[in-house]
Structure formats: structure tokens, C-alpha cells
């Protein structure tokens, strides 16, 4: 029941927020997001670290087609749920004033759509029926579309359309695979979409490969990976930083989440078959994302592209098929969520003050706004994997696993650390140090509200940087189960 409540709370919140009087909308919306956070924590306390699907509930939804309303979380799902419920209130607080200034329905619409997005994302991370997953997977797109198109900078309508077309294309390709799974299951006498039923069926290798391709394309667009990433930069550039947090830190995780659960979980043979191609694509994403990020002038665009590099790492960790890599990848998903959220939000506060997102037009911010500069530096260092901050742990694990997989893969991946240091520090140098912009008013420092919003993220980065054990305890059983499913024991590497 707790998972249903978890999904319903923000959904009801979205509807209520849309209909209460304007002045109340933000308070009500934040209230629902807070309640969801509490529900998420309650769910976490009920979760037993031992592993397996927990807190499950199953009801028949469409009997004629074997569709179930089935929810449950494993360690991976739980972490994603927690990431979501924590980030949403932060995004709402960060957008408290900004969203008001916009024309499209103002703060009320922003809060309502964000809550709707939260509800659908939570449903995605808890669905254990493939069709239910697909339904909510696609349903996330509608709130996301209106968040991108309704709030942000000039040209956002175009960016929103591009985003939606990419995602829908991926979704429809996946639909073919979802239906394919159903057809295979009905040919074997038990038409069903339940993950547990589907895991039991026997899919011949050729069919598996086709189904894999369908799922993988969708998740690669979502994640995003080279060469289907081009929506990412446009979207993060035009949308508000808050929306970008929701998209990059929460929604994009669905891509890597789906790879683990569906590609590896249901189609293990095909996943191994595809490994060489996927690993190469992941490496290209890592290097290409970092290189392109270096060349950007727009802060938000730059941050968006760094995520391409980070998602490359996550995918690499997943597809090297080793316990270290898998654990590193899942840990990376959490850490990336926190670090990138911090980066986007600080950048958002910065842009509000300078009135521009262009790096060229900024400078000398640290003189008048040391606290802001400090947050920005920490976020940047986290992105380039400084020891002591949480992304370091996960990045190290993935790189170690990559070297185990093949020395060449590892050496290419390691290059990204150098590049990351370059884009992060160079951005810091150009925006924060040096002389201030000619004739511009000095940049005001963060106020208490803003510090309060960012502080939890910073604390999490430091805490998990030194003490990642709680996360690892939750992650390890998932990795073990997934790799056993693929046919690789905890001890042995890929043969």
C-alpha cells in the first residue's frame, strides 16, 4: 500500500494545486511534496536491506491482456524513489520566486506539473509490470513537455517539441518490444506483462536480440547516450534549472534504470551479445560529452552536456558485467543526481543575478558572492571526481571495472577525468575569478533561503563521499541478483 500512497500523494497534490487559489498554490504544492518525502522515508524504513522485490502489491488491471497494476521496489528502485522524493521539494523551493515571473500559468502551473511529474516518475521506479512501466514511462513526458515549454528562456517551445519527439520516438520503438514480450509470453501459453512471469519465459536468442534493440534504443534516448543525445543540450539550455534537475537528475535515470531491469533482467543473452557496441557507445558518450562541454559558452548547456559524459560512465558500469561495475553504476546514478542537481541550482541562482547564462559575460563573481562561488566550486569538483565527494567513489569503481573488462576501455574512460577537471575548473575560472564584468552591478551573494536549499545536497555529497556504506548495502543485493540472472557469479568476471 505504501507505494500506491507514494504515487497518489503527488498526483492528488498536482490536481489540488491546479485548482486552489493562486496565492495558496505554492504552499499546498510544497505541502504535498513534503508529504511525499515523508511517505518515501516511511517506505525506506519498511524496506529490508536483504534484497529482492519488496513492498509488493499486485492487482489485475486489464484482464483481457494480462496487464497488472503491480508495484514493488528492489534496492535500485528504492534509491531512485528516495532521490526523487528528496529532489522534488528542493526544486519547488528553488523555483519559489522564479516560476512566478513566468507567463504560462505561473507558479501554480509549475508546481502542479512538477508534482504530476513526480507521481509518474515514482510509478516508473516502482512498476513491476512491463506495460504499467511503459504507460507511466510515456506519461512522464506530458508534464515534462509542459514544464520545458512553459517555463524558461526564449525558444523553449521548440526545445520542448524536440524533447517530446525524441522521447516519443524512443517510447514507440520500445512499445514494439513490449508487445513482442507479450506475444512471446502468450505463445508460451501465459499472456502476461508481469515481470515475474516474463522472467520465467524462455525467449529464443534471435527474438531476444530484436526485443533488446527496441528497449535499448528507448533507454539510450532517455539516458541519453551518443548519438541520440542531441535533445539534451537544447532542453537544458532553454528550460529553467529546476526543470533541468527534474529531467536530468530524475527522469534520465529511467534510462539506466530500464537497462538494468529490462535489458539485463529480461534479456540477459542479448545484453551480452550487445556489450561490445554498447561499451563503445558509452565510451564515445563519455569522451564526446566532456569535449563538447568544454566548448560551451552557455552555463546550462554546458552542465547538460556533462551529464552525457556521466551517463556514459553509468552505462559503461552496467555493461561491463562485473559486481564492481554494477555497484559503481548504481551508486553513480545516485551521486550524479545529487551533484548535478547542485550544479544546476547554483547555476540557476547565478543566472538570476547576472541576467545572462553566457560564460563570456560573467566574471569575478567570487569577490562579491563568495558563498555562491563556494557552492559552485564544490559542485564542479564533484563533477570531476574529487576524492572526498561522493561521485569519486562511483567513478573509481566504474573505471576499475572498466580496466578489468579490457585495459583499453579503462584507459579511454580514465581520460574523462582529465577532461572533466578541465571543463569544471575552466568554467569556474571564467565565471568566478578575474575582473568583474564592465559596468555590471556586483553580484549579490546567496541569501539564507538559497543556502538552505543547497545545503542538504552539499551535505549529501560530503557524507556519501566519506561513508557510502548505507548506499552500498542497498545496492549490492541488486547487483548480485542482476548478474546472477545474466549468468555471471559474484566472484567471476565475464569469460
Amino acid at each position: 500500500m505504501i507505494l500506491t500512497i507514494l504515487i497518489l500523494l503527488p498526483l492528488v497534490g498536482a490536481v489540488v494545486t491546479a485548482f486552489v487559489p493562486g496565492a495558496l498554490a505554492r504552499v499546498v504544492g510544497l505541502g504535498f511534496a513534503g508529504a511525499t518525502l515523508v511517505a518515501g522515508i516511511v517506505a525506506a524504513t519498511q524496506y529490508d536491506v536483504g534484497g529482492g522485490m519488496q513492498l509488493t502489491e499486485t492487482h489485475v488491471w486489464i484482464e483481457a491482456m494480462g496487464v497488472h497494476y503491480a508495484l514493488g521496489v528492489d534496492g535500485l528502485g528504492l534509491l531512485m524513489v528516495l532521490l526523487t522524493v528528496v529532489l522534488v521539494p528542493i526544486v519547488l523551493l528553488a523555483g519559489w520566486r522564479e516560476s512566478e515571473a513566468e507567463g504560462n500559468g505561473g507558479a501554480k502551473a509549475f508546481f502542479a506539473w512538477t508534482l504530476a511529474l513526480e507521481a509518474m516518475s515514482l510509478a516508473v521506479f516502482t512498476a513491476t509490470d512491463v506495460l504499467l512501466f511503459y504507460v507511466v514511462f510515456e506519461a512522464t513526458l506530458i508534464p515534462a513537455y509542459f514544464l520545458i515549454g512553459g517555463f524558461g528562456r526564449e525558444g523553449r517551445g521548440r526545445a520542448a517539441t524536440k524533447f517530446l519527439i525524441y522521447q516519443l520516438a524512443g517510447g514507440l520503438i520500445m512499445l514494439a518490444s513490449v508487445i513482442g514480450l507479450y506475444v512471446v509470453s502468450s505463445n508460451q501459453g501465459n499472456p502476461s506483462f508481469l515481470l515475474t512471469d516474463l522472467a520465467a519465459i524462455d525467449i529464443d536468442p534471435i527474438t531476444q536480440r530484436w526485443l533488446f534493440v527496441g528497449f535499448f534504443i528507448a533507454f539510450a534516448i532517455k539516458a541519453p547516450m551518443f548519438p541520440v543525445h542531441t535533445w539534451l543540450a537544447d532542453t537544458t539550455e532553454k528550460a529553467t534549472p529546476g526543470t533541468s534537475v527534474l529531467l536530468v537528475c530524475i527522469l534520465d535515470k529511467i534510462g539506466t534504470f530500464g537497462m538494468l531491469r529490462f535489458c539485463l533482467g529480461l534479456l540477459p543473452d542479448a545484453s551480452q551479445w550487445a556489450t561490445p557496441v554498447v561499451v563503445v557507445l558509452a565510451l564515445i558518450s563519455i569522451i564526446y560529452g566532456a569535449l563538447v562541454a568544454i566548448g560551451q559558452d552557455d552555463v546550462l548547456r554546458l552542465i547538460g552536456l556533462t551529464s552525457l559524459s556521466h551517463f556514459g560512465f553509468i552505462v559503461l558500469g552496467i555493461f561491463v558485467f562485473s559486481p564492481t561495475g554494477g555497484t559503481g553504476a548504481i551508486l553513480y546514478m545516485v551521486n550524479h543526481g545529487i551533484a548535478t542537481a547542485l550544479m544546476f541550482l547554483v547555476a540557476g541562482f547565478l543566472i538570476q543575478r547576472t541576467g545572462t547564462a553566457s560564460i563570456r559575460e560573467m566574471g569575478g563573481v567570487e569577490k562579491t558572492a563568495p558563498v555562491l562561488a563556494g557552492f559552485f566550486l564544490v559542485a564542479g569538483l564533484a563533477a570531476c571526481g574529487l576524492p572526498g565527494l561522493s561521485p569519486f567513489v562511483s567513478e573509481l569503481m566504474v573505471i576499475v571495472a572498466a580496466f578489468d573488462h579490457h585495459w583499453l576501455v579503462g584507459s579511454v574512460a580514465v581520460l574523462a577525468i582529465v577532461l572533466a577537471a578541465f571543463y569544471a575548473l575552466w568554467m569556474y575560472q571564467r565565471t568566478m575569478t578575474g575582473p568583474g564584468r564592465e559596468g555590471a552591478a556586483p553580484v549579490a551573494d546567496l541569501d539564507r533561503r538559497e543556502v538552505g536549499i543547497l545545503a542538504p545536497l552539499l551535505l549529501a555529497l560530503v557524507l556519501f563521499g566519506f561513508y557510502p556504506m548505507p548506499l552500498l548495502d542497498v545496492i549490492n543485493p541488486v547487483v548480485h541478483d542482476t548478474l546472477t540472472g545474466v549468468g555471471i557469479g559474484q566472484e567471476g568476471g565475464p569469460q
Binding site: L168, A176, G189
Partner: protein, 530 residues
Amino acid sequence: MTEFVKPSIDYFELWPLLVVFGVACLGVVVEAFAPRRLRYVAQVGLALTGLVVALVGVVLVARDVTTYEDGAARGILAVGGTIAVDGPSLFIWGLVLALAIGGVLLFAERHLDGGVSAFAGQAAAVPGTDAETAALVANREHTEVYPLMMFAVFGMMLFPAANDLLTMFVGLEVLSLPLYLLSGLARRRRLLSQEAALKYFLLGAFSSGFFLYGAALLYGYAGSLDFAAINEAVRNDVGSPALLLIGTGLLSVGLLFKVGAVPFQAWTPDVYQGAPTPVTAFMAAGTKVAAFGAIMRLFYVALGADRWSWQPMLWIVAILSMFVGAALAITQSDIKRLLAYSSVAHTGFILTGVLGLQASDQLAIGEITSLQAVLFYLTTYGFATIGAFAVVSLVRDAGGETTAIDRWAGLGKESPVVAAVFAFFLLAMAGIPLTSGFVGKLAVFSVALAAGAWPVVVAAVIASIIAAFLYIRVIKVMYFDEPVGDGPSVAYPSVLTATTIAVGAAVTLVLGIVPGPVLDLAAVAGEFIR
């Protein structure tokens, strides 16, 4: 010569059909004798009552039908075996009647255009003449549209229930002729409307000719017009296969024309655009439902044993329809033409379900059948279409309806509710989850894939992506583009149009979230009587 035997008429089972026909005839009488000021109320009342009574009749008959002989189907063959009142017929009757009720409500709308309906004051008056002005000044309106529509409804019910080729042809004509007329009765932009009617009539008459010729050839092949007898002949492989193949092809031309499949789609954009929007709404939804019912009955019942011949043809037609419909829809700048091309694409999607026919021994227990999938898709499509066109009729400027898409810019701010509802219908047509359109797509794709038609499904997925683009483009215009000039204004509808839109939206939402009952109903409808 055998002696002529007067067929026994099963009045109870045919009740819905007879009520609609009776009401249509009564409407003609009312038109002839009632004073002009009473006609509107009398006709609308009569039509609505008739449709509701017929709908109740469908429910009663559906509860009463029993298994036919010892087969899987339930129902009876009425009127000497010419009309099959079976599960699928009853399902389609119910659907057509429900859509027709929406149609009557749209026809009767008088709030949008200064107290008169969307139909010409005096259709016989040449546009631009004194006679037309006089009719306008006198606030005349044609009330013949209601009996005409009832005849069309009668045709739509007879067409899919026909159990021999001749009855099917009669159904086809009864359904088509009133629609040709109705298309030409627009109050605004009359020349466009008359052009549409003429095009529709000429092409339609031509396609009916094809159908009739095909029927004749099939009679030559099987020695009978009866579907069961044709099926028997195909199974036993009597007669010349050339006759069978050519006959099947010609019949397909007639039927595929009615559903607007490529390459017989040329009429749809012009007719959808020119016809009065209420007529477009009713025609787009109703004709497609009826004609697909007829297509399935002909192909499944009469030609089921010959499906290796016609399935490849439908593969090609389905793929072409999806691609041509979706691609041409993108280039349209008029919302009614866009919806027309999108209906061509939907024809392709529905055909994807039709060609998913499998023998019953190939179906797993609990697996969805092709008939079930198509019936469900038709339900979702019918309600979304009638709702979408009803919304189109609300967006107006001084010259009547504003159908140019770029004039819809800013509608999201101007009237959020109308824009939201229309966006919802578009999302349903795009097949986004939590709308009925998604479940419909899921159903037809599943049956096609199960039947091994994976190339069609792959094509359908690609076409869906193209189609998604065009629907999103309209949503973008409504929400994110700056209005041009004054922008459109939304006329406040009376309760009639509002009800139709609300019901359409409600069905679209409910079938997206709980499609189970209707899927089950389609499953209970079972098989065609063979």
C-alpha cells in the same frame, strides 16, 4: 425456379434497425407536414428519441441472444439469412448509435453561429444570390438533415450486419447517399462545401460501381451471394480462382474507399474540410466504424479461408495508409484537413488489426483476438474523433470557424479548457498512455505481431512517430506560440455540443485507464456468425 418464400422477419432482433428506419421515414413526414417553426424541435426530439430507443433495443437484444447453432458465435440470422444479428453486429450497432446521438447533438447546436445551425438556410439557392440572402435574413435552416442522418445511421447499421453481398451493397448505398447530401449543406463557405459533396458523390458512386462488379464476379465464382455459401465455395476450391481474386479485389476497392485507405483516400481531406463540421464529426466516426465492421465480416466470414490471398494486400494498404496519412498530415495548414489525413493514418492502424486474423487454434487462451482489438480501436477512435471535431466547431472568428492552424496560436492562454480538451484528444490520437488511443494501438499491434505481421508493426511504429510529431505540432501552436493578430475566439457552446465533447473526453480518458470492461464486452461479442 424455386417458389418465392416470404422471409420471416425477426422483429425482436431487428428492433433497433427498424426503429431507426421508422424514425427516418417519420422525419420525412414531419418535414412535409409540420409548420416550419415546429420542425426543429420535432426533428431533434424525434431523432434523439429514436436513437435512444434503438440503443436500449440493442442492449435488450444483446442480453437475449443465444448461441447460434453449435458454433462459437451468438446471435441469429434474420430475414432469410440476409442480416446477421450477432455479437459483433450488436457491438457495432451500439457504437454507431452512441456516436449518432453525439452527431444529433452537434447537428442541433444553434449557439455558435448567432442562433442558427451550421446548415445552409436554403441549399437550393445559388451562393451569392438574392435567394440566399433572403434565406439568411429569414433565419431559415434545413431540418431535413435529421431524417437524412437517420437514414445514414440505418445504413451504417445494415452495412456491417449484412450477411450477403447484395444486402451489403444496399447498406453501403443507404449509408452513403445521405452523407453526400449532408456534406453539401454548409452554411458558411458554401462553394467549398458543394465542391466537397460533388467530389464525394462522384468518387463514391464510382467505388460503389467497383463493389457491385466485384459482387457480380464473386457470384460468378461461388454461385451465391451468401457469405456462408461463398466461404463454402472457397474452402472447397470450386470455380475459377481468377474470378475469386478479381472479385475480392474489386470488393476491396469499394470497402477501402469508404474507410479512406490509401490509395483510395483522395476524397477525405476535401470532404472533411468542406462538409459542415458536425457532419464531418458524425461521418468520420460513424462511417469508419460501420465500414470496418463490413470489411471484417466480408473478409473473415466470406473470405476467411482465402486469407493468404488478401492478407498481403492488406499489409500493403495498411503500411501505405499509415505513411501517406501521417506524412501528408504534417504538411497541412488546416486543422480539418489535418484531422482528415490523420484519419487516413488511423485507417492504416485499424487495418493492422484487421490483418491480424488468426485461426482459432493458433490463439492462446486469454489472448486478444483481432476482432476484439479492432472493435476496441473503433470505439476509442469514434469517440475521440467526434469530440475533436466538436472542439473544432467552437474555435471561430468573424468568418465562421477558424480552421487555419496558425490562427489557433495562443488558444492555451485564451481558453485553457478548450485547448486542454483538444490537446487531450490529440494525445489520444497520438496514442499516448492513459488515453484510450494507447490501449487501442496496443491491442491492434499485439494481434498483428501475434499473427506474424512484424513488418507491418515496425512500419506502424515508425508511422506512429511521424504522426506523433504532427499532433505535438498543433499542441505547440496552441500553447507556446504567440497569437497572430487578435487570435481566435472560442464561442460558448450550448449544452448540446458541450455534452458531446464532455462524453467524448470522458470515454477517451476512462478507456485509457480502465479499458477492461469494453475489451471484455468485445470479447463477449465473440465471433461472427458463419
